[in-house]
């Protein structure tokens, strides 16, 4: 048998959704479900090997070709960029990037430069560049919602799923930046050198989405 195809999964919700999908395709994912603390797990009947990683690392591993394919959110792809093929929109993990401010705050008024707090500086910079707007972007690591409340920033660019956190903190979405969902990515060489195997897997996935 050939070397297994290595698939990097973003730990957490995307991992669960992907494992669900793989099981729907008929693969035995027992080892992944009962993983304990292991990070590399076999899916024997699919000749697959699952690698569990943080979102950014999924891209890094796929870019370097140490994993052949990966499942990662569009949010991470937009922020990190890189050289890989983005083959399938898996449809799950749906949410959006949005610009939010304190409720009833008139973000676009005045001539002063606006300050944006975000975990996604590249996404934010590109969004405002497209508008031709100079902004000051401050990178925040934790709960970005705090920044406008503490009056460090005029607005935030962040991932919004239900909007509950925003609402509970007196913030509201004033503009959508981009939709987000999970993507299947592939290393540019792996797709070529192992075309038949990867294409078969993709076909199976697309039939079961």
């Amino acid at each position: 048998m050939n070397k297994p195809i290595r698939i990097a999964l973003t730990k957490g919700r995307l991992e669960k959704d992907t494992v669900g999908l793989l099981e729907k395709l008929g693969f035995d994912c027992t080892a992944v479900r009962e993983k304990g603390r292991k990070l590399i797990l076999p899916v024997p009947d699919g000749n697959l090997e699952v690698v569990l990683a943080k979102a950014n690392d999924v891209i890094t591993y796929v870019e370097h070709g140490v994993c052949d394919i990966g499942v990662v959110g569009k949010d991470t792809i937009m922020e990190m960029d890189g050289k890989f093929y983005e083959l399938v929109d898996l449809g799950f993990g749906r949410c959006k990037f949005a610009l939010a401010t304190k409720k009833d705050y008139d973000f676009y008024s005045g001539y002063g430069i606006k300050t944006i707090a975000t975990k996604y500086p590249n996404v934010s910079r590109r969004f405002f560049e497209k508008k031709g707007m100079d902004t000051e972007i401050i990178k925040i690591e934790g709960s970005v919602e705090l920044a406008p409340l503490l009056e460090l920033a005029d607005g935030i660019v962040d991932i919004v799923e239900t909007g509950t956190t925003l609402k509970e903190n007196g913030l509201e979405v004033i503009e959508d930046v981009a939709p987000i969902s999970a993507r299947l990515i592939a290393n540019t060489v792996s797709l070529k050198m192992r075309q038949a195997e990867i294409e078969n897997l993709i076909k199976l996935i697309e039939e079961n989405l």
Binding site: V66, K83, E86, V88, A186, V189, K192
Partner: protein, 399 residues
């Protein structure tokens, strides 16, 4: 205060011993192959004027260049590529030379890569430029050189070809802004089917749009040509496809069982640079292409000399990485002989050592005062023969 005196800049590294052997072996092998096919080596300066790279077609973003100034304050860059300097030389000093010109090089290029990504800013590229022929046989010559080069590494390899003309013709039929065209190109390059389909759906429905949607999926073996045939809306594109198919078939025959030849009609990188054939080369288990090249018929005209050209560059660092990971690591050469002489006999010792060297052996002179330290060194270095030169010279065979 010195903070950086013990380390090298990010994106650079020291190569030691075995790493050097691998690197030099690759370079030697490639240059030998190129020269045996009639390519002449060129060395261009490591420093060039920024203007050489600040042209319309091949785009070198200035943020990716190492820049400095000369004593007159003019902007220089550390050479980020070898093709541009060679084009400059061809358009100036080699202008009256008979065509085609067959040139090769092996030199370092410098580009700033994003930090902390495990990438090198300093890459050795070994490559060829075939200048002044637009014939199919020139394309084949370059592919066949690439095959010979990849085959020399004794690893599973694959060469992939494409043709930028197909994309250019298709996208040229769309009545949309350059901005949208670039978005389409980018989505085809990254095989981003969801985004490509959304974008093209918003432009309506036509055979051109259907063909563009399928373009990134058109990769693999000969079957690709059949699939593409049905999709292409006009004769001009079909002609390009037929040309590429002929090149594909010939390349397969040239390659034989040594490696595989594949085609990807979705190769649309550097559209302003390439004008026809595109070539990529892959080694099994290495995550990035090791060969990148193609036809760039308009490049040299940027320097005022309008002649066609085709070529490729091999990423020697990439090949070295692949060999270190999957190939056979070379063992360091062990000296054959260690010559020891006590004080007073040094000249005699150097003469003895030279005699052994003249027989083709690797010989070291021991740099110790006493015999025991010299012998210990020979044992540590696994040197087979220990020669003592004094009033009564003798040889000792070591374990």
């Amino acid at each position: 205060m010195r903070n950086y005196d013990l380390i090298t800049p990010e994106g650079t590294k020291d190569l030691l011993f075995g790493e050097c052997i691998i690197r030099r072996n690759i370079e030697k092998t490639l240059l030998k192959i190129f020269k045996s096919r009639g390519y002449s080596e060129m060395i261009t300066p490591g420093l060039e004027f920024f203007d050489v790279f600040n042209l319309n077609s091949p785009y070198f973003p200035q943020e990716n260049l190492y820049k400095l100034t000369d004593s007159k304050g003019r902007l220089l860059v550390m050479r980020p590529d070898s093709t541009m300097p060679i084009a400059r030389v061809v358009a100036t000093r080699l202008r009256d030379t008979m065509l085609p010109l067959k040139l090769c090089y092996n030199q370092t290029v410098y580009r700033t890569e994003p930090a902390l990504k495990g990438r090198s800013d300093e890459i050795v590229q070994s490559g060829i430029e075939l200048i002044g022929s637009e014939l199919k046989i020139a394309d084949l010559e370059v592919i066949s050189t690439a095959i010979e080069a990849l085959r020399s590494f004794d690893m599973e390899f694959s060469i992939e070809i494409g043709h930028i003309g197909i994309f250019k013709e298709l996208v040229g039929k769309l009545d949309v802004s350059d901005h949208i065209k670039e978005k389409i190109r980018r989505n085809i390059e990254t095989k981003n089917f969801p985004a490509l389909n959304d974008l093209l759906d918003s432009l309506g429905n036509s055979p051109v749009i259907t063909a563009l949607k399928k373009l990134p999926a058109l990769f693999g073996g000969e079957e690709v040509f059949e699939k593409a045939e049905e999709l292409m809306p006009d004769e001009k594109i079909k002609r390009i496809l037929d040309e590429l198919r002929e090149i594909y078939r010939d390349s397969c025959e040239i390659c034989g069982n040594a490696g595989s030849i594949t085609v990807d009609l979705g190769l649309v990188n550097k559209t302003d640079y390439y004008t026809g054939l595109i070539i990529k080369g892959y080694l099994q288990g290495h995550g990035e292409e090791v060969i990148s090249g193609g036809r760039y018929d308009r490049l040299i005209s940027e320097f005022g000399y309008d002649i066609p050209a085709v070529g490729f560059a091999m990423n020697v660092n990439g090949v070295a990485k692949a060999i270190e990971k999957y190939g056979i690591l070379p063992s360091l050469p062990v000296p054959d002989v260690l010559v020891y002489a006590p004080e007073g006999c040094e000249v005699e010792a150097f003469r003895t050592a030279q005699e052994f060297r003249d027989q083709g052996m690797i010989v070291e002179n021991a740099l110790y005062e006493d015999l025991e330290s010299a012998r210990a060194y020979a044992i540590d270095k696994k040197i087979a023969k220990f020669v003592v030169v004094d009033s009564k010279s003798y040889e000792e065979e070591m374990e």
